[in-house]
Amino acid sequence: MNYVLPSLRLWLVTILVCVVGYTGLVLAFAQTFAPYQANGSIIEMNGRAVGSKLIAQEFAGPRYFWPRPSAAGYDGMGATGSNLSPTSAELAARAAETVARYGATDGNPVPADLVAASGGGLDPHISLDGALYQADRVAVARGLDPVRVRDLIEQQAAAPGAIFAPERIVNVLQLNLALDRLEE
């Protein structure tokens, strides 16, 4: 009995401070200083949401750059990785399908990030090499000069973490939006 009442009072005070107060404070901060990020980094075009800058979406046609494979089927409500072991035969079979889709050959191997599924299945980026690998396909499908497409990729590519992570990556949705603008 000596412990029940203090425990209940402790419940109340911690709920008020750590849940109500803390959540309210962070919510007010985020909605005031970073409303775009706080609401999911949603990209709008002509008043319609076309996706989130941070969430991969499926691109299947040859006119667009393709994102990394997704074990989640690009479902924004069901993020997941493949959870397959790197030694798994199932993973080898899945990779063979992806390789065939890109038409890769021993003389023209596809960059690994285009074959390996990401952790959450919603990785919005591909590597710079992965984008350049697709440049010719996109240029042909759109009747564009491949040099212009490559220039566009170079403009969009950035190192995610300065000297700590210098390998440049490209946001697929932003690249594809820029591609559409190129044709206008």
């Binding site: 803390y22 609401n39 949401a49 996706g51 979406q57 493949s82 700590f164």
Partner: protein, 552 residues
């Protein structure tokens, strides 16, 4: 290679620098430096009498029962309550039991995906609340243990300690981390999922919610339970390289500071340096192994025309860089955090062994508060063995370690492998485990072994391919988490209670110094022999067998 080394120095070195002043501050806080707020905290709970080890433990258990009861009720009734914009339905009671046990015990094992299971109220009002108070429970227990072993007549008052830890340690740090990751792109909204139409004209629903507040305390309190299913691999939970850096620092900051806090409260900062050194040595060994093993390319792609030049990319996110997946895997399992920055199921076999080893040892900084408590058990054993070797009465800080204390210490230490190996044996031999695997052969065995290691160590990460939302898994891991948590808090407090009842002797020239590097080596050997001998056979059956079979 260079960027990998720089990243490790940035994260581990940077955190170590921050942990020193934080530990100093925490020692002051728990030594009564802020008398006015301590008085306020005492009034909040209707008075704060000094407690001995039994009273302190009873208070801790009483409040933890309230924690479990409240969140169990909230999770079970979420579909009838407000703040449920995505219309989450009632969850099964076995999942509710597992989740309530998981977050009450600071484990955060998740047999569900947050965005498709829990309402915002359940996540914020229930799970996030537990992420504060379960972490504070561990810090409070360490403060009590340090007071007792350091020569104070009582252990303090649990209800005051819990408020000190919640409001003056966790809360201010959580506000800072939440603000930083919110600016980096972690959502913080009460609106339901966003609806979009993709450039190719397909409908896409994008989960969001009050994630920034949740993720900050998840990282700081060695909780690890993600707002979204795939934890910090989800781009909205970890949007940039820099959010990732802050989240990794948050994993080990308080566990590191706890060592300094312990050293200051017992008045032996040099002893804390030795303990910190042992922990740091183990951490660096594991980081080197993990990052090194993960540079091997994905085995499944080797016979295909795939250009692999940055190691195994399956289950990893490009924006986080090549090194951070295996680095995070070590940090999160050295501490009992359990969040992930890459999918552990898809790590190379030997890389996957490193997080398992972290959970088996469970004291490389360890969980907030409880990591140092686990290390205390190893110290007791090391002191005892050293005393036997030189033929002197084993003493720790002037306390004579005798049969009763040793029996308790061994009980707590041996319960860990019994829970892990016993559970793994049962589930590997029956359809309870064998019917839920995502991978076959040795890797499937690793999935079961990992799950029980994670539950017993109160870690919470997983080889997530395992189909673990079943009644047997929910009940078994729920029980293992509860036993693993409370045994390893109450038994050490009982040991200290027993030591406090005895006369403390003055340390002489013949006493084993716990401030020397000799003692550090002794402690390291004790930990390695204990861990290696107990778990080596299981490791051989899982990750080692997989490596030898497939990796050429």
């Amino acid at each position: 290679m260079l960027s990998a080394i720089l990243t490790i120095i940035l994260i581990v070195g940077g955190t170590a620098l921050l942990a020193w002043p934080l530990g100093r501050y925490m020692a002051g806080l728990f030594s009564g430096r802020f008398a006015r707020t301590d008085g306020l905290f005492a009034r909040m709970v209707g008075g704060a009498p000094e407690q001995d080890w039994k009273q302190y433990s009873l208070a801790l258990i009483a409040f933890n029962i309230v924690m479990f009861g409240f969140v169990f009720t909230l999770l079970a009734t979420q579909h009838m309550l407000p703040l449920n914009p995505d219309g989450q339905r009632a969850a099964t009671l076995d999942l509710v039991f597992n989740t309530a046990a998981s977050f009450t015990t600071n484990t955060n094992l998740q047999h569900y995906s947050g965005e498709s299971t829990w309402s915002y109220l359940a996540q914020i009002g229930g799970l996030m609340w537990l992420q504060f108070v379960s972490a504070a429970t561990g810090i409070a227990a360490l403060a009590a243990l340090a007071r007792g072993i350091g020569g104070k007549p009582t252990m303090g008052n649990f209800f005051v300690d819990l408020q000190r830890a919640s409001f003056f340690v966790l809360l201010p740090l959580a506000i800072i981390i939440a603000a930083v990751i919110a600016l980096n792109g972690v959502p913080m909204t009460l609106q339901g999922a966003a609806q979009a139409t993709t450039l190719e004209g397909v409908a896409q629903t994008i989960a969001r919610g009050p994630a920034a507040a949740f993720v900050a305390i998840k990282q700081l309190g060695t909780n690890g339970g993600g707002f979204f299913g795939p934890n910090s691999t989800h781009p909205l939970e970890n949007p940039t390289f820099w959010s990732n850096a802050f989240e990794m620092v948050a994993i080990i900051l308080i566990p590191m500071a706890c060592v300094w806090m312990f050293g200051r409260i017992i008045g032996r900062p040099k002893h804390a340096i030795v303990v910190f050194g042992v922990m740091a040595a183990l951490l660096l060994i594991k980081i080197t192994a993990s990052v090194g093993f993960e540079t091997a390319p994905t085995q499944a792609f080797l016979n295909l025309p795939v250009a692999q030049d940055v190691g195994n990319l399956e289950g990893k996110e490009l924006r986080l860089g090549a090194t951070t997946g295996p680095l995070w895997a070590v940090l999160t399992t050295s501490t009992s955090n359990g969040s992930v920055g890459a999918m552990h199921d898809s790590l190379n076999p030997l890389t996957g062994l490193v997080p398992m080893a972290g959970m088996w040892l469970n004291e490389t900084f360890g969980g907030v508060g409880v990591g140092m408590i686990n290390m205390f058990l190893y110290i007791v054993v090391a002191v005892f063995v050293a005393g036997m070797m030189v033929g002197r009465t084993p003493e720790y800080l002037g306390h004579r370690i005798e049969g009763r204390e040793m029996r308790l210490a061994v009980l707590a230490l041996i319960s860990h492998p019994v829970l892990i190996l016993g559970g793994t044996a049962l589930f590997a031999a029956t359809a309870w485990g064998a019917g839920t695997l995502n991978n076959i052969g040795a890797h499937g065995f690793s999935e079961i072994l990992y799950e029980f290691s994670s539950a017993a160590a109160n870690n919470g990460s997983g080889f997530e391919g395992l189909g673990d939302n079943t009644v047997p898994w929910n009940i078994a891991t729920g029980l293992v988490m509860l036993i693993g948590r409370y045994l390893s808090i109450i038994v050490p407090l009982a040991i200290v209670g027993s030591l406090m009842a005895k006369r403390r002797s003055a340390e002489s020239a013949g006493t084993l110094s716990v401030e020397s590097s000799t003692f550090g080596v002794m402690l390291l050997i004790t930990i390695l022999i204990f861990g290696a001998l107990t778990f080596f056979p299981a490791a051989a059956l899982g990750p080692v067998a997989e490596h030898l079979t497939f990796m050429r």
